[in-house]
Amino acid sequence: MFGLGFLNSFFLFALAAMALPIIIHILNRRRLRKIRFSSLEFIDELSRRRMSRVNLRRWIVLLLRTLAVTFVVLAFARPTLHSRAALFMPAAAAKQIVICVDMSASMGVERETGTAFTQAKILAKRVVDESARNDVLNVVASSGSSRLLFESGTTNKQIVKKAIDGLEVADERASLTKALETAVGHFRESELRSGEIYVVSDFRETADSLLVSGTPAGLRVILLPVYLEAVDNVSIDRVFTPRKLIRPGEVVRVGVSVTNHSRENPAEFPVELFIDEKRKAEKFVNLSPAASATVTFSVSINDWGSHRCRVAKNRDRLPIDDDRFFMLDVSRRIPVTLMRGKRFVEDDKQTASYFYVDKALNPRGSGESEFSVKVVDEKDLTTAALPDRGVVVWTDPHRLDRNRFELLKRYLHTGGRLMVFLGGGSSGQWREDGFARYFGIKKATHRKAEESLRSFQKDHPVFSIFNEEELELLSRSRVREYIAVAGVAPDSILAYLGSGDAGIWECRRGDGRAVVVSASPDMASGDLPLSPMFLPLIHTTVSYLASSEGAEFHRENYPGTDLFFDLPAGWRRQGHEHRVANELGEQEQAVFFDLPHGETKAMISRPKRVGFYKLLADTTLVSEAVVNVDTRESNLNPQELAGEYLGDATVVDDSADFATTLQRERQGREIYPLFLLVAISALVLESLLGRRA
């Protein structure tokens, strides 16, 4: 929508001059030359035929003269054409001017004259300088959130410029749309009828859609891009670490995804891996324009514990995405949650399956084994009981209520590990609640018959450590009751029973996996727990599940979004002062809140910087988390400021005649030459018609 405005609207009074040609016309008719002529015989005859056309032409001439005068007057009034203008808005009226400054990470791109953000601040201050004395100014600092620097604006230019100077580029991703909403909201609250919103940004290709439409009447949006040219940039996008338990000395594959955002230039650069700030590996990457690649490092860490890791590349014009931080946890022990089913009877521990499994994983009960076992009842299952990089062993499943079953399914889908002993004399209630279907069992039948395991899939990691003799020993153990299942995929069966039913099989669900045993390890249902191979079978299965590589785990924390910390199991927060500190030594009070299913998290709101964050209880390190830049900030190809993206907004680029252009955009494009052209055209036409007249 376009509007016509006038810079010198008082000149419009001169439109009264429109009457001039009409007055002259009337006077001319009054001052008509009267000539006595010898004979009107010829003239009379001709005039009757021609003068009607002449009269019409005369009116047209009068119209053209009036038009010419009108357009000359309008040209002197300096007409302007711009979008959504308030017509005839006096130039001297006070305006609400809101400057939205993009503080996103991409604004940190280094240019010849400093960073883009430096230039943005200069532009913002120039807007302040170009504003009228009575304009009310405000600034929206746009990063992860958009905030107004002044509550109700100010007319003091110096204060505004000082506030702009105090802004710093953030590591966050900014939403210009939110910034605009904040600015528009501020305008609506103000009492001023006209306003201007300036958005100073790099307007990158991956920025959010900035369709400016439906802005209130009298408000104009002007975009001020800090640079319009594409800037080559290569970013480290993601780091992929395996979601599995990493054991000391184990070889770990770390994938690093890098992207060349340049559309024209290839990139060659080294990528280095640092663990605890020690350079561990380096690879050289060659990327075509607009290409991505994943570099894989294989490293082993002998020391258990949490290790701060960083991948880095050579510095380019946007340094913030040249590093990426992550943590690698090397575990000394495998956390196991032993979930007890129905058959657990407190008085008769030794008849319960969990008893033998517990004994197998933690023989001495001293916690010195490589497994740290935690025992829960299935009816008490909570999120806290599900180990992030460990295994859940579920013996004799009886029945999970709907919520807990959903919890377990989600755990598996997101990379959890599960070993299930279906049990012998189970009541079978679990078969009706969807659990059986979830594990691919079409039909489950409780059978009482002596059977033994056989037909092992020897090359599977669960059995690969057993030799023939050991497998023979394992096959000698008998089960007296078991669950005969139908519908299990044959290629997932690791061992059969003598009846031909599946004895042990593996299920993959989402990113997680489960090993299901059709029998139950207790004395009541067989002599399996007495087999000398039972202990190795439990160990290898749990180790296999804990160490098997599932989907690569990746959870990113970005600046400007809430940062959560995992707490160690059973962490008691009372009596401690919990603080979160970053590498710069900045500290912030941590907030705790309880999630459903018993999980508790600590968090801080919207960290501003990338890097490592420590959750400290007094002076004790409780947990660590990593914040990395959102790589959508890395694409420095500018957005085409046109079409839907632009909406009703206009663009003023950072050129030498910025002030003039800005003034023009403020007032609209001056179109007085067009008006003069119309006036001249009218005069030329008038002259042609007049001459013929």
């Binding site: 001319n28 008719r29 008509l32 030359r33 009267k34 000539i35 006595r36 002529f37 010898s38 004979s39 009107l40 015989e41 010829f42 003239i43 009379d44 005859e45 001709l46 005039s47 021609r50 003068m51 056309r53 002449v54 005369r58 013929r692 007249a693």
Partner: protein, 312 residues
């Protein structure tokens, strides 16, 4: 033999120069003298036995008329001029209707008169010059001034005294009423019995058919006829700017027009009218001469002399 210097005198052939003079006789004399001075041979003839006066020899005069005695005494050439009886009756019909009062040479003509020559004045001067010339060569001249009727009618005379009388009448003429040419033509045609020369000086702003009928009447009576059609240049091209209200000089009719839009068509119409008159006149051995008020008088006088020569 020495002739008069022509340049000084021939300027009086220009109507604009003559219009600044006063006295019809002076004007007529200067026109005629100027005209004669520009000629290579004398236009005079009609010499008689009765001596009238001497005059200087001019190129074209017969040498036999030279007075050799005078030459012997004065060393100058003089020819003897003799009184001769009238050998031609010329009738000048001068239109003094309202339309003849039109002049455009002065610019705006609110009153119908400018500071230039109006057609009546031009026609009057022409009549005076012709009268002067004719009486100088002993032809009898009659003048008839008319508009819608005859306003003055002087008899045929060839004496010099008659010339002054005639010029005095011409000087007093003023534009009159509506034009009605043909009744006057028919009347004069009936009245002039002896075969002679008819000179019609008019803007012919009347029905062409009727005018031609009148002229044919003269031809029927064996008269020789010369028509001097006097028009103002503006009547030919209607060259006016801006919007104008025209008022008819004869009937006060008013028309408001933009002449620029009409002039092209108007000029064609006038041209058609003139060419018709010319064509019709030629068809009946009538000398038709179109003159504007800017046309030098020698053109008209030459036309007359040519006609006179043909008549013998």
């Amino acid at each position: 033999m020495r002739a008069k210097k022509p340049s000084a005198i021939t300027k009086f052939l220009d109507p604009s120069v003559v219009s600044r003079l006063t006295g019809m006789e002076l004007k007529a004399r200067l026109i005629v003298e100027g005209f004669i001075a520009g000629m290579h041979r004398s236009p005079y003839h009609g010499f008689s036995v009765e001596f009238a006066e001497y005059r200087q020899y001019m190129q074209g005069d017969n040498v036999k008329n030279l007075d050799w005695k005078v030459y012997g005494k004065t060393d100058r050439f003089y020819v003897k001029v003799y009184e001769e009886e009238t050998n031609l009756k010329a009738t000048i019909l001068l239109d003094k209707s309202g339309s003849m009062g039109f002049s455009s040479l002065g610019g705006d003509v609110e009153t119908g008169k400018g500071d230039g020559l109006d057609k009546l004045t031009y026609g009057g001067l022409l009549a005076a010059s012709l009268s002067y010339l004719m009486i100088r060569q002993q032809d009898a001249v009659s003048l008839c001034a008319f508009d819608d009727q005859i306003r003055a009618l002087l008899p045929h005379r060839s004496v010099r005294k008659h010339l002054f009388f005639l010029l005095g009448n011409l000087e007093r003429l003023s534009a009159g009423a509506k034009t009605r040419i043909s009744p006057t033509l028919h009347y004069i045609a009936e009245r002039v019995k002896r075969r002679g020369l008819i000179i019609l000086i008019s803007d012919l702003m009347d029905d062409p058919e009727k005018i031609l009928m009148g002229l044919k009447h003269f031809r029927h009576r064996k008269h020789e006829v010369i028509v001097f059609h006097i028009l103002d240049p503006r009547e030919l091209d209607l060259d006016y700017r801006d919007e104008v209200e025209f008022r008819d000089l004869e009937n006060d009719k008013k028309i408001r027009v933009e002449p620029a839009f009409l002039k092209e068509q108007y000029a064609k119409r006038v041209e058609g009218w003139i060419s018709k008159l010319d064509r019709e006149c030629k068809g009946h051995q009538i000398d038709y001469n179109l003159l504007t008020t800017r046309t030098p008088f020698d053109q008209a006088l030459t036309a007359y002399l040519n006609k006179r020569l043909r008549m013998g």
